[in-house]
């Protein structure tokens, strides 16, 4: 008896509360929604300050308090929270494969009903919306992006030595041979990255697969339908082997240095006097590392970039991209408002202006980018004809991490390529089913 009455009362209370919320969202005299929203994302340190700057106008306009939690251990924390039924309303999605799993388990909210899809379609190129779509429904939006496949160099050194930006893959190989003859190792590479060691090597392979074998093979490959030991993928590794040179001799410091050097420090020897290497391959975020390590460097004068040439000219204009996505795990008026806000160019511009991020939003003004380098990066992003998402992130977790590890193993001993690929094939057989 008592129990029923409690239930009746609580449902009445709930109805009252709902009415209050409904009224509040529409007719609140200040026009503010109020309340709170939990957000979990990976941005800590300097990035956290930037993200909070993005949130500030939102909080002021809506009166919603954003309870932001930063964690570097996103996979463990988010998985535990989601499994326990205690998910944050909004999270920056960790990796597409983890998101796909949550979608399958019905733990993520489809955004089609929440967002103004017509606006979204006019703001973003179709390929970005497709990247966030699983089984015909949109589950994540891209707030910021990074362009991969860039080669960084010191233009002053290059001008002095008379090196020209290579237009084709053959030009690039010719250039690196010339650099060697001139007595400097062409490349600086560092694969150490703590719990993610090896990923810069993965970036190389992805870009090579995409521009050598083409987008069809690339898609089949991350979907697990293309064997690692197939000629196309094996050729990509061998092509990277050409860059590394026999026994990694094209790289400053050789094998041990590649493995032991942090990806963030890897490019620094380029700015030594005399330079220890002349090229560094890394995504657009690396500029901040250059400037922090050598504070006297000026973007554009002391370092600049060119997109790495396509291995096969048939695939010109294809590039691997990565991005910061958001997904909704619990639908509330507050989370609806926030995800809509994060999809706007206005919100994205705040971080873009602070540097280090690009936006795929067509509404974004090129003038919002803080310097010439980021302007030309944004330009390169817009000119990218085929944007493919980072394959290693798209693969299931076990496949992705073993991909990084394979890059480390390949650098350790290039002659073991066949057994490395055979091992990846074996993981491929189980990783997609579990």
């Amino acid at each position: 008896m008592r129990e029923t009455s409690v239930k009746v009362w609580s449902s009445v209370g709930l109805a009252v509360a709902l009415v209050a919320v409904a009224c509040g969202t529409q007719t609140n005299n200040s026009g503010k929604i109020g309340g709170t929203v939990h957000v979990l994302a990976v941005w800590s340190g300097s990035e956290q300050a930037s993200f909070q700057a993005v949130l500030k106008p939102f909080e002021e306009q809506t009166g919603i308090k954003v309870l932001y939690e930063a964690t570097r251990d996103q996979d463990a924390i988010l998985t535990t929270r989601v499994e326990a039924g205690n998910a944050p309303e909004l999270a920056s999605a960790p990796s597409p494969s983890l998101l796909a799993r949550f979608v399958r388990e019905g733990k993520v909210v489809a955004l089609d009903q929440i967002l103004d899809m017509n606006k979204l379609r006019s703001d973003y190129d179709k390929s970005w919306i497709d990247l966030g779509t699983i089984n015909g429904k949109l589950y994540e939006i891209f707030s910021w992006t990074a362009l991969k496949g860039l080669v960084w160099y010191d233009p002053k050194v290059w001008n002095a030595k008379g090196y020209k930006v290579p237009k084709t893959w053959d030009d690039l190989i010719a250039l690196q041979n010339k650099m060697k003859q001139d007595g400097t190792t062409p490349w600086c590479i560092g694969l150490e990255s703590g719990s993610a060691s090896g990923w810069p090597g993965k970036d190389w392979i992805e870009e090579i697969v995409l521009t050598q074998a083409g987008p069809t093979v690339y898609d089949a490959w991350w979907q697990g339908k293309q064997k690692w030991s197939s000629p196309e993928i094996k050729q990509a590794w061998q092509t990277w082997g050409q860059i590394l040179g026999p026994n990694d001799s094209n790289v400053f410091g050789g094998k041990n240095n590649i493995l032991a050097t942090n990806f963030g420090d890897a490019g620094t020897p380029m700015f030594a006097n005399p330079p220890k290497c002349l090229m560094h391959y890394q995504a657009s975020f690396i500029t901040d590392f250059f400037v922090k390590a050598v504070p006297t460097l000026k973007a554009g004068e002391d370092f600049t970039f060119f997109p790495i040439p396509d291995v096969n000219s048939q695939n010109a204009g294809a590039h691997v991209v990565a991005g910061d996505t958001f997904s909704v795990f619990k639908e509330t008026p507050q989370s609806r408002a926030l995800i809509a806000y994060l999809a706007t160019a206005k919100a994205q511009a705040i971080w873009v202006k602070r540097g280090g991020k690009l936006s795929a939003n067509k509404e974004m003004n090129l003038s919002d980018y803080p310097d010439d380098i980021s302007k030309s990066l944004a330009d390169a992003l817009v000119k990218t004809k085929v944007a493919k998402f980072d394959a290693g992130d798209l693969m299931p977790g076990a496949m992705g991490t073993n991909f990084w590890k394979a890059a480390l193993a390949f650098v350790s001993n290039q002659n073991e390529l066949d057994s490395i690929l055979a091992n990846l094939d074996k993981i491929q057989q189980t990783a997609y089913t579990s």
């Binding site: 340190g45 939690e69 463990a76 326990a84 205690n86 963030g264 390590a293």
Partner: protein, 308 residues
């Protein structure tokens, strides 16, 4: 005068005796060994300390020992940036709120249990005790999802507890207590078991009850073991990041200091130079705890009581 004259030849003889010389040499060797080992041990810490006063561009390009020779380029930047975070005071407060109960609860409960394991007879005692020790090997990561589920189902979440005006850390306290009990009970039971049994017999003859024996005899005699246990449990909780993130999360209202400090670096690992300063900052409290409990590690606590 007389006395001095009488003793002097003897003491000179004593000084020159081979036994005396051997003793001197072994004293010197002892000091050399103690100081040598300690010096080797502090090298990494000294490296960290010097690095914490160096600018990032110097840390990244030269070894820490180069800071010891001119040109000196020391800076307080790492410390000022580290201290500049918002809500550092709140985080320290949260750390105390997490660490104190998470130490008191398991140590007390373990002391109760250890007393029973060591000095009472009950069916299945040895097997229960062994299960405790065996559970020490359970990897904590494995328990996160089941315990979180349980907590969420029963409303033991920071949001809920906060709404009820209860400390939002209760779930975290229970988790830390559970994780700590196998080791705490194991350590204390072995210590209690080694206490001389005639102590208890005489106490029982005097008609002292169980509580009296526990509070008046066992606990005072076990102060060194209790002190070391308190130190370790406090330290482990104070330095814990993952368990706190799982059970209370990283929101500034509840998150302990470790969350703030880990968030000094960004997702690319940039800013690790700030961790050097942070390491020394977060070390202060554990070291104070250690030093203040030092005085319980003195010879004779046990010996004195046995006689009395």
């Amino acid at each position: 005068m007389n006395v001095a004259a009488a003793t002097r030849p003897e003491s000179i003889r004593a000084i020159l005796s081979p036994h005396w010389i051997a003793q001197r040499i072994s004293r010197v060797l002892l000091h050399v060994a103690v100081i040598g080992l300690t010096l080797v041990w502090v090298v990494p810490t000294v490296g960290l300390l010097l690095s914490s006063f160096r600018p990032f561009s110097a840390i990244a390009t030269s070894g820490w020992w180069t800071a010891l020779s001119p040109p000196y380029r020391f800076t307080l930047d790492n410390y000022s940036q580290m201290l500049d975070q918002s809500n550092l005071g709140g985080a320290i407060f949260n750390s105390f709120m997490v660490a104190i109960p998470s130490t008191v609860i398991p140590v007390t409960i373990a002391a109760f249990a250890a007393y029973a394991f060591a000095w009472m007879k009950f069916p299945g005692r040895d097997w229960i005790f062994l299960t405790f020790v065996g559970l020490l090997a359970v990897p904590l990561q494995l328990t996160f999802i089941p315990i979180s589920k349980f907590f969420v189902e029963h409303g033991i979440t920071p949001d809920n507890l906060g709404a009820l005006n209860l400390p939002p850390w209760i779930g975290l306290w229970l988790a830390h207590a559970g994780y700590s009990l196998p080791f705490s009970t194991y350590l204390l039971a072995n210590f209690f078991r080694a206490l001389p049994s005639d102590l208890f017999e005489s106490a029982e003859i005097d008609g002292a009850g169980t509580l009296t024996v526990f509070f008046r005899i066992i606990l005072p005699l076990s102060v060194p073991a209790l002190a070391s246990l308190v130190i370790f449990q406090f330290l482990w909780v104070w330095n814990d990041l993952l368990v706190a993130l799982i059970f209370v999360g990283g929101a500034p209202e509840v998150a302990p200091l470790t969350v703030n400090l880990a968030n000094l670096t960004n997702s690319f690992g940039q800013g690790y130079q700030l961790l050097t300063a942070a390491a020394f900052f977060s070390m202060i409290v554990p070291l104070v705890v250690f030093l203040s409990l030092q005085r319980y590690f003195v010879r004779g606590i046990l010996a004195g009581s046995v006689k009395g």
